[in-house]
Symmetry: D2
Subunit: 386 residues, 4 copies
């Protein structure tokens, strides 16, 4: 009998989990694979909504918890968090002895996973390489690619780019993005099925919303324009406040600049007490998607606007450069951090209908990832293609 | 008046220093640049020959010393050393506030420099990218490329490869390798000018050598075949012992497996007390090169055999895969870790003469590096070319 | 000419600075001493009010900034912050090469200062040893004593206890507490001289207070009863809310449990919007003391209630065990974390007058500390007295 | 049914293991206790003889391996190793969730165990507190005492001293030293039973020794006189070389200065090739003790000379200050680091006979330790006695 291969996924933040959840499920249920789960970084921290609770509530067993986030939320803290992450994750992999490690996407601390695995000669699987954005994530993502032995990318454009980066074509597979798997489930059964105010509380005087008649906002700081995050969030806050449309607003995840964003939101709230906006700290990914799917427009700079929303056909107002050069569908309207532009774009989008687009897969990505991993010949050493 | 730009070079090991020395000198003397020097890792450690003493004796001022090497010389220690390096170097850069940071080549800990600089938005200059080897260094080198904003490569082949990796051609310059600058000085004035036994002591019964009638050996562990380093060093020890030719043998630098190599040398010495071999711990780079230039053959797996020796025209027996796919001259004969093959190759090479080759530049690389840095427009953010 | 001795003080949190400020000033101006200042930990962090800004505004030059606080504010984070602190402070001392290092009091991360100094054979001066509290601080404080070479304690009781702990009597000096120096200044010139609402903003609908007719509250989490901090802060919030007396409330400093305290305050505010309470994030120590000096009662579990208030003669309601067994004056009334008890105690205290007590010195402690350090014979090695 | 209490012992170096082995065995076999074992620091490193192999060969299961030793063997490395140890051990305890942690004696890194346990509110048991030496160990040992909740000391003198340090008498128990348990086994069955040269190899031309007609030497660097270790080891080397008596010499364990000691031994060996000395890297503790028990004198500065040798009645020449003020028996002759004095002392001692002394217990210490732990009421919070 063949021993199942131990595949260790490292989740370091809320969005990473949403993007990989269906793949985790597929790995766990694949006969030739055994899932090991490391939850680390901000996914463990209360003030970012403790993703770990959601993970465990979803029925996953967490093998190691790795506390590594250094206070400061500045550039210095990003570097030190990553350094500490390398040290801590080296321990985790040493204890778990996985046959391969999965690192996800491009957040700054994901390079810690790549280093800790590679320097112990553990084959590395990178999910969502080959994309283009335009800030420090860009550097991290492609560096992850250079450490990885198997590349499971989310789009054909991504596949082409990873190959151009010198990787062997046979080790680069477009599996689509697992985030679309959840989007498909939501698309197939679109009814909301829960009251967000009752289930998640949140803060604000808004007490309910009507289907297809509300906005959803999620806006993160931009690493490349650190120092301007406060101004940027205020533009969107003022735009949405002026429009007066009922709005569900989500706190950003941790990053250099997220204190600025939080501070901006808090001050705005205290000053204007906006009656059309309700603020939520965190939500189960599926509930979050259902809310977007039933909204009239999704606003901000989250990759959800680019990926899931193209599959769902939800109108999106994408602000600023955070999603710069990411392959997008017709449903996305790009604007700058400018109150007037944002108002104009929302007004245009809320009356539009878009059909489904399959840029990031058609909803079976988790299974495809598990299958690719199962059939991968786990060699560690690679060389450049040219 | 324009303030000179502060350029911070990080030296983590003996070979990094040799490779960058002439560039450090040129930066220090360039009117538009100010040199900052961080000495870290094994360059500070006594049992690797304290490179820092050589650096200071050369007249350089060291701005920060960063102790970061974790004991173990195993894969775990490589990861943790790198993690600690990120933390420590983040402090160093925070204190020095350089306008750009230089990371050199591809040793595992060089990625720590790249991360610590990039996450603080300090532009990164990578020296010697675009080469190909075939082990963990390969992954680290190209990951460094993905973090770097300016690429100063050592050969045309390297330049082509970095551009293929997606970097903008305008930011990739073939400056040649600074190690050749020293080789040129040695080539122009080839007389030895010192007695290695008197100047450096070392261990062994050999008391002197005749010009052009001795071998020089430097053999490092191979990271990809960790666990075989002892066997590998013994093949070379036995070959050189059998040949009976006077030989100057150098201890390897720190790496996973270097304990095995050291142990192998020590045991061999205690068992056979080889009268034709003298062992040296470390040497000033120029003295080291002069010894090679005056030898009849250079043996092992050091990159010196590939680079400096092609310029000097010294015959080389290159063993194993450590220099796999690195661009090499006609002077190099490749063999496997096998006593008989090594003996045969040495016997062939010691009677050969080779002319100069300029694959890695013609000896003005340091100045060219300083000039390229001085005229570089220090932008931090980059995006992929395609 | 004699070189002045370099004395390096490490400030890791807001209260440490208040407690040492006058000594820093005296060291800086002492002809035989040269002050070196390391600011570390939460003293650098925005969400704890960036003590460093106050320090620099006071005219001190900061030699090193040490980021070391790990996110989590749980017990795990306390340990890791301390570990990281040892690593980082070792660098700082290596760079600064002080003749002696000052560690202050008993916060968990102060042991990092003790270790980093002692292991580099730098003599250690401990300020405020020999006191008794009753939680993890107790262990840390006495461990600091065992590392220290010179003990400058704040009260006669403290002096006796440090000697009992085995330290040589000649190296234990009661200098009084430097926090009293500031209290003396405030006592001598008691007029408030500023409008706290205008100068510091803060949050809340209260717009002004009348002299001697308001309360000041500062309540930290208790490390020993972690998990109950939320309940504990709510008791005080409810008591003060019920009383309806105008109140100036200060956020707690960082510690395991401070998230619970902050969360409790935030929720209470959002639920009750208490019109008699105004919340301040941070304040210059002198302004803070003036506010207390002009208040009718100081409430909470801060050591300010025990120390400065005994000198000022301000009535204090001290809640819970955080100040357990600390030597206190007649002005302190102790109660449990219980709304009714707190209300009763406040009602009693606001009508009382107390005279000055000199338990923690008479206001020249900073100078006495500088003088003791200047005349100390800096030997590093010590042995136990018995 | 009552769950057994999980007791986690941390072994960081060879001597710690010898000192605790019989207690580990007794804990493992106690019905109310469950042993958890963390092996860390130099106990994992090849060049210090990999104590972990001995531990596993003894049948113990190792629950966590913690790599934490920073290269350098200087004072800086001691601090950073300790800092890293705090971080890494915090993880280990978080994963193992012990009911109590055991920290052993006074090496610099043992404080890392104390901090990592205490800051997670895990009760701490300190073995071998209350002794007096006279260097940095002195500070570390008493600091460990101040963190500990239960003190299991090795002698009556130790018990008195820990109580004087302010600890509650009821929590300080003289269990004797577990190292004596092994000594008792050796004393009861004194025959050597193995050939050290065959079993352990080692280096040197000496091929055998006669019972009661050889010396055993073990000399560590002294932390307080760092920089003089080379001179100190040379005095002993010259003395023993001059005497010409067959000698078994052991390498020192890791510490600031151990490179100096090793270098001194290596140079001496290469220069004089002493025919009467054989050098061993490491040995199972029992074999080591048997060799001492059958020797005519034990020389150096190891605590084995003070403890086990007093029970065995072996003559000891104790050199220097490393064992300063440790309670010793009549069998110990103290000398300075001076060749002539050492020769004179050895000549006197080799003709002496001493009877058994029970200063450090009578050989049932392991069991007594397990029993004390089993009946201890595991409360975490303590306060000072006076």
């Amino acid at each position: 009998m063949k021993m199942p291969k131990k595949i260790c996924a490292v989740i370091t933040a809320r969005p990473s989990y949403s993007r990989i959840k269906s793949a985790l499920y597929a790995i766990e249920h694949h006969p030739d694979l055994q899932l090991q789960l490391v939850v680390a970084g901000s996914a463990l921290l209360d003030r970012y909504g403790e993703t770990i609770n959601i993970i465990e509530a979803d029925g996953f067993k967490v093998d190691e918890k790795v506390f590594m986030v250094l206070e400061g939320e500045n550039k210095m803290a990003m570097a030190k968090t990553t350094g500490l992450g390398v040290i801590e994750l080296a321990n985790a992999f040493f204890n778990l002895r996985p046959d391969a490690v999965i690192t996800i996407a491009d957040r700054y601390e994901t390079i810690a996973t790549s280093i800790a695995a590679s320097y112990q000669s553990i084959p590395l699987i990178h999910i969502q390489g080959g994309e283009v954005t335009g800030n420090i994530d860009e550097k991290v993502r492609h560096a992850n690619t250079k450490f990885a032995d198997l590349h499971l990318v989310a789009s054909e454009e991504g596949r082409q780019r990873v190959i151009k980066l010198g990787e062997e074509a046979s080790k680069v597979v477009n599996t689509g993005c697992p985030s679309i798997d959840l989007a498909r489930k939501v698309y197939d059964h679109p009814s909301l099925g829960f009251d967000p105010f009752k289930k998640y509380g949140g803060v604000g005087s808004l007490k309910n919303v009507e289907e297809s008649n509300y906005l959803v906002v999620l806006q993160h700081p931009e690493t490349t324009t650190s120092g301007k995050s406060r101004f940027q969030i205020e533009q969107t806050l003022e735009a949405v406040f002026d429009l007066g449309i009922p709005t569900l607003w989500f706190w950003p995840n941790i990053d250099a600049g997220s204190d600025e964003v939080s501070g901006g939101i808090r001050s705005f709230r205290e000053q204007y007490n906006p009656s059309n906006i309700h603020f939520f700290k965190n939500m189960e990914p599926e509930d979050f998607l259902r809310l977007i799917n039933n909204s009239s427009c999704f606003i901000g700079n989250s990759s959800t606007g680019i990926r899931e929303c193209s599959f769902l056909g939800v109108p999106v107002v994408n602000i600023g450069n955070r999603q710069y050069r990411r392959q997008r569908g017709l449903n996305v309207m790009d604007v700058d951090y400018n109150k007037e532009d944002i108002i104009r774009a929302i007004n245009q989008q809320i009356n539009k209908k878009y059909s489904q687009q399959f840029i990031y897969g058609n909803g079976d990505s988790g299974e495809r990832i598990a299958n690719e991993i199962a059939k991968f010949d786990f060699s560690f050493h690679k060389t450049i293609r040219y």
